[in-house]
Amino acid sequence: MANDVLRATIRDLFRFSLSFRFGSIILVIVGILLLLSFFSPFESDDRRVVPRNKPPSQEFILGTTGNGQDGFWLLTFAIRNTLMVSGLAVLIGRSIAVMVGMITGYLGGKTDRVISSIVDSIIVIPRLPLLILIAAIMQGEMTVLSLALLLGILDWAHPSKRYRAMILSLREREFTHTAIFSGMNAVKVVVQEHLPFLIPLLLADAVAGFLWAIGMEVTLSVLGLSDLTTPSIGTLIFWGNYHHALLRRRVWILAAPIAASVLMVVGFYLVSLSLSEYLDPRTRLSRLTVGEQIDGGKAG
């Protein structure tokens, strides 16, 4: 049943939303590139396996780097690592955010006031300098995993406030009282009754988190503060700049990661845009008048 609903939703999105069509096609391309990294003929740290500094040609479609790596296969590794870092960061950040949002929103009162003012204090701390600072402290010891952890820890304060507001309003609803009176404990109420309402918000929010994390990964790497031995979108640009790819007229070294990052974020953003539009009750109403196929989806 749930499968049917999902299929119906995706079909509707494809039919009605231009941005979903474009976004999902882009994401499928990105996904294929990511999967291709597992079939790469070279390891990601193989050096001098192909002629160096060759411009794009039939043999090397994205050219080769100064280290004798194939641009195309290197890019597939970069996409995989960047998405892994940002995906993990989003997971960590949103988990903290959901927990904090639920606790403050549901308990209310003094706990809420104390935690909320701490959250407010954390929000005003400028994140980028803090990130650069911590990354500078950890210089040399930064791994893909610790970068993801760091990004996740810094990206929960804003979303937690949104979730808190949502839970606050849910708490006053009829069904919450029913649940409490029927003997459900607080954890159960929040997890079983309130969490489902958060999921649409969480979905749209996760994409925003992805955009931020990808941006920060690129930013930190370009400043030379991430794990520079692991290929990622940011480190490819860093090494390109480091070897003066532009001045030596080897622009393909830089163009590939730049194009890939733009493709990635635009794909994510378009899909999230269409999702939040789809989940918005106001547009759902106007869509209902367009066709009745959605009824099947709604029944589930």
Partner: protein, 332 residues
Amino acid sequence: MTLLKEFILPRFAQWLIVIFVGVTITFIIPRLSPVNPVTEALARMQMYQNIDPEAVQAMHDTLLDLYGLDGSVLEQYVNFWKRVLKGDLGPSLASFPLSVNQLIGVSIGWTIGLLGTSILIAWTLGMTLGSLAGYYPNRWWSEGLEKTLITVYPVPYYILAFVLLMAFTFYLPIFPLIGGARGTAALTWEYITSVLHHGFLPALSIVIGATAHRFIMAKALTTTEKSSDYVQYAQMAALPQRKILFYYVTRNTLLPQVTDLSLSLGALFGGAIIAEFVFGYPGIGTTMYTAINNGDYNAIMGITLLSIVGIATASLLIDLIYPLIDPRVRYR
């Protein structure tokens, strides 16, 4: 009196707490750094000459004292607040004997000029275009504009800035690569045009990113507002469209937008690290970046303090003047 007690004082207390907690966190983190500013400074001094080890030890102690890094972390912390309350951010550790106040004084003007101007331009542009596009959603120009800006919006700022840099300083070299101006500061035509010339590209990159964000927000708000009854009533009453849009609809969407504007103006004191890094602009972001790389605790603290106070004050002010902007919000 109840207004003061129930509305202004709690917000003021919140302001104090926010600054206190924020500053405390930023006080602790740089001290976890393995980069020791004293040994760094000594290493710089010993780079070109041999110094007697005993003299090095003596210098080490003197520097600890001068930098305010002697004593336990707690003592340093107390001293730090004492100094800050007097308005003294201490000596810069990396560019000693310059003080942090001086470092900030030199660079803040550049940042305020660059960021302030771009934020205001982007806000006005985004608001106007977004409102128009939300009010006339099916015109060719509004659809074209939306598609363009939706594609630009999610692109990481660094990529945007770097592509502009590649395009306009390398392939089409019409803008300078680095710096804030040419020649010495003076009120001459030549100097002023060189400031504009140097600032144009960084400003453009900030304006593009910020306009896209503002446009998307303004369009969404206007679309919602447009379905209100009063708009339909005004349309039926055949009021001029421009009047309905800018006198009624946009005014109603102003509240969150003004909040955003004030917060981004408050964030101005943090500088734009990436923009200044990419374009080699001599603002406060560059100062911050250099400070982080050199383990200059005092400069890091000073700039962070400034930006925390900036943002906290901006949100305090906006809280206090909300009811003036929007009469629907009442002082509670």
